[in-house]
């Protein structure tokens, strides 16, 4: 697997990163499922047009934290957030925030690919229709082609757009879900272990895709695969037991972490 994916790792390592503006600014955030505290005092700045990876053992809160960024946890009754989460300087937990509008700006790709049981075309069209983004059929077809191309799946599906999305392979379904998220032109793309259910080749395609997409999007990816974090991300944040232990440039986290815990984790001593 490592040999297969080596070309990618050379793409990210060693290049100096330009400083980009802070897109997501989280300060002192606590998160609760009912009485149980799942996240404690998270403070992190996520920069625009970079890939930020969240790593950590299962149950460390990395997915929970990701889901607070588009208020997806809001769906679960009894959840509560303290602290502040700002996107472009706006408090997304303010009472005046339009959650639907927020999710339009902050797209999400899930661990388990979840295409709708509709045609490939309709899967992409759903978000466009829901948000009223296209004026006519022609414009919609253009947007659909564009997003399927951006998700590097156009060539595989262009002749069978009317077929059910459930006929696609796992990797294709996941790229379709990425295309679906891109179609509504979000600014941020949250990816929750997007390749965890995929084989190495499909994984490599998703990783290449992430690398291409960061020119236009701010990407946050949760992964339990440290090689993947090292390959695709610019910055890495390490979570442990609901706390953010350390965050910083990916090379620094993997080569000279300041915390002993981080070092133990990235060198595979636990987790």
């Amino acid at each position: 697997m490592t040999t297969l994916l080596r070309p990618l790792s050379t793409m990210t390592s060693g290049t100096a990163r330009p400083a980009t503006p802070v897109k997501i600014d989280v300060q002192g955030m606590n998160f609760y499922y009912g009485a149980k505290q799942a996240l404690s005092d998270i403070t992190i700045a996520i920069h625009a047009n970079l890939v930020t990876a969240f790593i950590g053992p299962s149950g460390c809160g990395k997915s929970t934290f990701l889901r607070t960024l588009n208020r997806m946890n809001h769906i679960i009754p009894g959840t509560r957030v303290e602290g502040r989460v700002h996107i472009d300087g706006q408090d997304i937990y303010a009472a005046s925030t339009d959650v639907v509008g927020l999710r339009r700006r902050v797209g999400m790709v899930f661990q388990k690919s979840n295409p709708f049981p509709k045609s490939i075309f309709e899967n992409i069209a759903y978000g466009l229709r829901t948000n009223g983004l296209t004026k006519n059929r022609g414009e919609m077809e253009g947007r659909i082609e564009e997003s399927l191309k951006a998700a590097a799946i156009w060539d595989e599906v262009k002749d069978r757009l009317t077929e059910s999305a459930l006929m696609l392979s796992g990797g294709q379904q996941q790229r379709l879900c990425i295309a679906r998220a891109l179609a509504i032109q979000p600014e941020i793309l949250l990816m929750d272990e997007p390749a965890s259910a995929l084989d190495p080749i499909a994984t490599q395609r998703i990783e290449e895709l992430i690398y291409q997409l960061k020119a236009s999007y701010t990407i946050v990816i949760v992964t339990h695969n440290m090689q993947q974090a090292a390959r695709v991300s610019d910055n890495t944040a390490f979570f442990w037991l609901g706390r953010l232990v350390e965050s910083g440039a990916t090379e620094q986290i993997f080569t000279s972490p300041t915390e002993k815990l981080t070092e133990d984790y990235v060198t595979g001593r636990f987790g």
């Binding site: 997806m72 797209g107 979840n114 679906r180």
Partner: protein
């Protein structure tokens, strides 16, 4: 117990359970056998074409005619009215229970709704005749005392729990990932429910509709009490009609001599009724299986 006795007991239990299962299958087969035999006897005297396509049903008259269409139309008319009530309200309440209701409400409302299904149908029948019909007559003065509308509406209420409960099961079985996928694309709760969850559960929902239709067609007491006993080929719900089931009640309760051709009509009508509900149940079952395959 020694190993020997234990094996013997196990063997006995297994045989006894098999006998119970075989017994119920045999009884069903026996009932169908009688139905087939009597129907065969009936069609030796009455041509099938005349039965299926005839428009006059007067088997008890001196000049007997055996066209079953008036009974079929009466049955379908009342069932359609019932479905017009049960489909929208059942589906909407299912959507509410599955997508909107807090789990506390759901835990209370669903069983209560299912209790409705336990009300004896004879109660619904008198409710239709003595309460709903007079009420409707205030709105429609032309409404006959026995009519298709009132039992149709009440039957709709009777099958509503079936529709809402089975549709709710179907909606609930739609994986959460699909809802999240819709929300993540900026869908509102309603857009997620109507454009993703309901379409995804469509085969399960259709199965519940068809099963409810089958239940409506086979329902007896409500129509026997409130729809009347006039086999009439009509689409006007204000009129008195007679359904297939109500006809069977009428003849079996009456003094028609057993073995006569008039008596055998109830088996022919019963056979037709059985084939209709059986076909609907098969379709419903097939849809439900397809739905389960989709999400397992």
């Amino acid at each position: 117990m020694t190993l020997g006795t234990r094996r013997k007991v196990e063997w006995l239990i297994e045989r006894a359970l098999f006998a119970c299962a075989a017994g119920s299958v045999l009884v069903t087969a026996g009932i169908i056998g009688v139905l087939v035999f009597e129907t065969y006897e009936f069609f030796r005297e009455v041509p099938i074409r005349g039965f299926l396509f005839g428009t006059v049903w007067t088997p008890l008259f001196y000049d007997a005619q055996f066209g079953v269409l008036p009974l079929v139309s009466g049955t379908i008319l009342v069932s359609l009215i019932a479905m017009l009530v049960a489909m929208p309200t059942g589906l909407l309440s299912a959507i509410y229970l599955s997508e909107y209701a807090p789990s506390r409400v759901r835990r209370v409302v669903k069983p209560v709704l299912e209790v409705l299904a336990g009300v004896p149908t004879v109660v619904f029948g008198y409710f239709a005749l003595l309460f709903v019909t007079p009420l409707l007559q205030r709105v429609f003065p032309d409404l006959a005392l026995f009519n298709a509308l009132s039992p149709g509406l009440v039957m709709g209420i009777m099958i509503l729990p079936l529709v809402s409960s089975l549709s709710e099961d179907a909606l609930h079985a739609v994986p959460n990932g699909l809802r999240e996928g819709a929300y993540a694309l900026g869908a509102t709760k309603m857009q997620a429910a109507l454009r993703v969850v309901v379409p995804a559960a469509l085969s399960g929902i259709s199965a519940s509709f068809i099963l409810a239709m089958s239940r409506a067609i086979g329902e007896t007491m409500i129509v026997a009490i409130a729809a009347g006993q006039q086999p009439r080929l009509t689409a006007n719900p204000m009129n008195s009609v007679e359904t297939m089931t109500a006809y069977i009640v009428q003849v079996s309760m009456g003094d028609t001599p057993a073995g006569s051709i008039a008596f055998r009509t109830i088996f022919a009508v019963g056979m037709l009724l059985f084939l209709m509900t059986f076909a609907l149940n098969l379709v419903s079952d097939w849809l439900r299986r397809r739905f389960r395959e989709q999400y397992s």
